[in-house]
């Protein structure tokens, strides 16, 4: 039994007219102030992007924009031809894709199972405890993770073999980082899906039960479709952020052996940019991340649209 929402009807493209603006005046009042806010706080600072095209060092920093040396795309070429760039890009994409896929999957699964839990009190306690790791800072989570996963650590001791999880210089470390991240965040990420599930009309479940659907069928046909819009939207947003995968966890979980595979773009931008007092390069890499991110976002959005799913934009 599928439940279709009436909202997917196509909207006629309206023609601009003052009459229309007047008709929608409330909507305008409710949104325009915030658009202004947006422009001030988010778009104005983008003048900083000009730094990507200039040679910006501490010595030239205080100069006004037009007096700084304009070097075109030199910063970009410098970043792209860096010894580490290609590997960093691969690491970033690899970690992202893995993270998005596994992260979304596990959060949904977690929420799904939790939603099915019958004993309310146990459910509440479990949910509260499950997001505790979210509040523990990465510094601590990383040190605990290392304790478990290092050679000679707890996991090795329990399993009786040398798993070399943190000492194999390969893509394995992406998987490790991904799992540590899930461990830390799954409870928290599930909250969104849980709240989406809470918004599903309970009447649907009743009706399904009457029709003889069992537990799994109800999950498959009601719950999952019920959260699909949310899930798709979240997925699109995550894809947009693919290149921005953070640096804190990479830095903390890295060591001398695996560093070839833990370097990601944000970290790279940091050490080659600010770390070298070269703000131009740092900004250039950041700009690269943003531009690619948005492109990916728009592509994902379009695909979702073609597939008939809800779109982000």
């Amino acid at each position: 039994m599928k439940v279709k929402k009436a909202r997917t009807a196509t909207i006629q493209k309206q023609r601009f007219s003052l009459k229309l603006m007047w008709k929608q005046r409330y909507l305008l009042c409710m949104s325009v102030p915030f658009v202004i806010w947006l422009i001030i706080f988010k778009y104005l600072p983008l003048w900083g992007w000009t730094m990507a095209f200039q040679d910006v060092r501490p010595s030239t920093f205080a100069l006004p924009l037009w007096e700084r040396e304009f070097i075109g795309f030199a910063n970009f070429t410098k970043a792209f031809s860096d010894r580490l760039f290609t590997q960093t890009l691969i690491n970033t994409l690899g970690t992202s894709i893995l993270g998005i896929a596994l992260g979304t999957f596990s959060a949904i699964l977690f929420a799904l199972l939790l939603n099915e839990l019958r004993f309310i009190r146990f459910k509440k306690i479990t949910q509260t405890i499950s997001y505790l790791p979210h509040f523990v800072s990465w510094v601590i989570v990383a040190s605990i993770a290392k304790m478990f996963l290092n050679a000679g650590g707890v996991l090795d001791t329990i399993s009786g073999t040398k798993l070399n999880l943190m000492s194999t210089n390969s893509m394995l470390i992406w998987v490790v980082i991904c799992f540590v991240n899930i461990w830390k965040e799954v409870g928290w990420d599930a909250i969104i899906y849980l709240s989406a599930m809470a918004g599903i009309d309970q009447g649907l479940y009743e009706a399904a039960k009457v029709d003889g659907a069992n537990r799994f069928q109800r999950m498959w046909h009601i719950t999952l479709p019920g959260i699909k819009p949310t899930a798709i939207v979240l997925l699109i947003m995550s894809i947009g952020g693919a290149l921005n995968v953070g640096m804190e966890r990479q830095i903390l979980l890295s060591n001398g052996i695996v560093q070839d595979h833990t370097m990601v773009l944000s970290w790279f931008a940091y050490i080659r940019g600010i770390g070298n007092n070269n703000y131009g390069v740092g900004t250039a890499i950041g700009m690269f991340q943003s531009v690619v991110g948005i492109t990916l976002l728009l592509i994902a959005n379009k695909i979702a649209g073609w597939m008939g799913e809800s779109r982000l934009v």
Binding site: P58, S59, M147, N150, S167, N255, G256, I257, Q259
Partner: protein, 568 residues
């Protein structure tokens, strides 16, 4: 939600906002210094100390690595009395914040800045003032303090200004040293206190001890050597030993600079390759802890604290926590002796060598300072004998006493107070104003024959524990470091350690990559099988060259040559 309720909530929120905005300016600051009365003194009056009008002026002082300090302790007050200056101390919270960058962006400089690692940026941004003339006119003590080494404070040959003083000790000797390698007393005792003079001996000592004592009393496996190399500490435990154990002398970080000022990463030296080959062998035989590349620093310290690690190659401040635990557990025999270990007898351990005044970091006066004369006189006071004693010893009659021969000494009470109270520095003012201002090294004496610092030979000997005293007896020396090659056995290098120099961006960019390569290269060379060693090590060398080492080396070599020229 009832409409009324929402409306009232919104009104509340708005009201709250406005209230808070209004309140914003009046909430007292709980961090940062008090704002003193910032009256200007009449600048330019050439008095030795203090301002002519007798008013106190306030100088903003930014200290990269510092603590909150209201400048109200007794020593601070004495300083203010003598110089007419009160410091408003600003500091950064974390080590990797961008305070310096923001400072430059805002063009908002404090009056005095301790540059730490932001010196290049600050100089490039024109934030610091050239102090040469100020020192000439108002800084007699500064001149006397640095003496011949004053020229080393010049920035470069292109720009021989003096932008900042040095934050490291001038002159002095070391009464303590970690040497090139540290070994447990118990292991030394088994060998009749003979310490190893070659890699072979070292290896054999470890092996025979392990054979005799495969586990500690607590049942933990004995480990021959362990290193902390999972982060930047690799430079200390993995990189440096290779250099110093094979006779390296001047501390140039990862570089080796020969007499003709050609610079290469020191791993290119053939002696070092052999050292790392030996280390690789130790790893494969299990003498070197196999967990060393991945273990966290906490694990490393815990291992040492358990007493199972026979030897390490580290700096004392890195594992001092572990020593505290060992001592608390009464396991003195498991604490370590710093040894002048070298891989061959012909090499000399350079731990005690005077490497020259370390320049490249220090306190400078910013271009935004409105009263540079007061500032320079302030710094001048710090360089005077009086200023030195005040900051190190405190107030006469309160923190220390003078005996009949004019020597300074501290009471037992005072010494105990310092050892047990972690707020000693805050309460007395002894300690906070030493680093990073100019100071003498240990052992330098003043006119009364007392040392400037609180660390004197007698004090060090008095602090020795049983093990250390026993060793002194067997070796027939007064100080443990007497077994080291003494400072007079070395020539003073013509240039001070280059790791501290401010270097241009082109160099830094390459150097960063070189260090990355070296780190992973060394680790992979050490942990691979012995047949792969040559291939891995040579690959690292090749990668280093490919990453532009020659270029960086030339820049470094040129800088060093210029420095030498400045001094000659």
């Amino acid at each position: 939600m009832k409409l009324k309720k929402v409306k009232s909530l919104m009104v509340l929120a708005l009201a709250g906002c406005m209230l808070m905005s209004g309140c914003g300016q009046q909430v007292p600051s709980s961090s940062g210094g008090e704002s003193g009365s910032g009256t200007q003194s009449s600048a330019g009056s050439p008095e030795a100390a203090g301002t002519s009008s007798g008013e106190v002026i306030e100088l903003r002082y930014y200290c990269g690595t510092g603590e909150e300090n209201l400048f109200t302790d007794p020593v601070a007050q004495a300083i203010t009395e003598a110089t007419g200056v009160k410091l408003k101390i600003e500091y950064s919270i974390s080590s990797d914040d961008q305070k310096i960058a923001l400072m430059i962006a805002e063009q908002d400089y404090p009056d005095l800045i301790f540059t730490d690692d932001g010196s290049t940026s600050l100089v490039d941004a024109g934030a610091l003032m050239d102090m040469t003339e100020l020192i000439e006119e108002y800084g007699p003590n500064i001149k006397k303090f640095y003496g011949e080494e004053l020229d080393k404070l010049k920035y470069s040959s292109d720009d021989p200004s003096i932008y900042f003083l040095s934050s490291y000790g001038v002159g002095g000797v070391s009464y303590k040293s970690d040497g090139n390698m540290q070994m447990q007393w118990d292991v030394l005792k088994e060998n009749d206190y003979n310490y190893p003079k070659s890699l072979e001996e070292y290896e054999n000592m470890l092996k025979s001890y392990i054979a005799e004592h495969p586990a500690t009393e607590d049942g933990l496996e004995t480990i021959g050597i362990t290193l902390s190399a999972a982060d930047w500490r690799w430079m200390i435990t993995l990189g440096n030993p290779g250099y110093f154990i094979t006779g390296g002398q001047q501390d140039n970080g990862q570089w080796y600079v020969d007499e003709n000022y050609n610079a290469q990463f020191h791993f290119f030296r053939s002696e070092e390759k052999e050292y790392y080959r030996w280390l690789n062998k130790m790893y494969n035989e299990g003498i070197l802890d196999n967990e060393f590349p991945t273990q966290t620093h906490e694990d490393y310290v815990a291992k040492i604290a358990s007493g199972r690690v026979l030897s390490i190659m580290d700096a004392e401040w890195d594992y001092s926590d572990a020593i505290k635990i060992l001592k608390a557990d009464g396991k003195l025999g498991k604490t370590y002796a710093g040894l002048p270990f070298t891989s061959e007898e012909s090499y000399k351990c350079a731990s005690l060598m005077y490497k020259g005044l370390i320049t490249g970091q220090g306190v400078g006066i910013s271009t935004a300072c409105k009263d540079p004369v007061a500032a320079i006189k302030f710094l001048d006071f710090f360089c005077s004998d009086e200023g030195q004693v005040l900051r190190e010893w405190g107030i006469e009659g309160v923190n220390y006493l003078v005996d009949d021969e004019g020597h300074r000494y501290r009471t037992e009470e005072e010494i105990n107070w310092e050892a047990t109270d972690k707020d000693y520095g805050k309460k007395t003012g002894i300690g906070p104003y030493i680093h990073p201002f100019p100071r003498y090294g240990d052992g330098v004496v003043d006119s009364t024959g007392s040392t400037f610092t609180r660390r004197s030979k007698e004090a060090v000997i008095a602090e020795y524990d049983e093990e250390q005293r026993a060793a002194c007896e067997v070796w027939n020396v007064e100080l443990l470091v007497d077994i080291f090659p003494q400072p007079d056995e070395f020539d003073t290098p013509l240039y001070s350690p280059s790791w501290a120099y401010a270097k241009p961006a082109e160099y830094n960019e390459i150097n960063q990559q070189l260090e990355e390569i070296a780190w992973s290269g060394l680790i992979s060379s050490v942990i691979c099988s012995s047949t792969e060693f040559d291939a891995k090590y040579d690959k690292m060398l090749a990668d280093l060259e490919a990453a532009g080492m020659k270029e960086a080396g030339e820049i470094l070599g040129t800088i060093i040559k210029e420095r030498v020229a400045l001094v000659e």
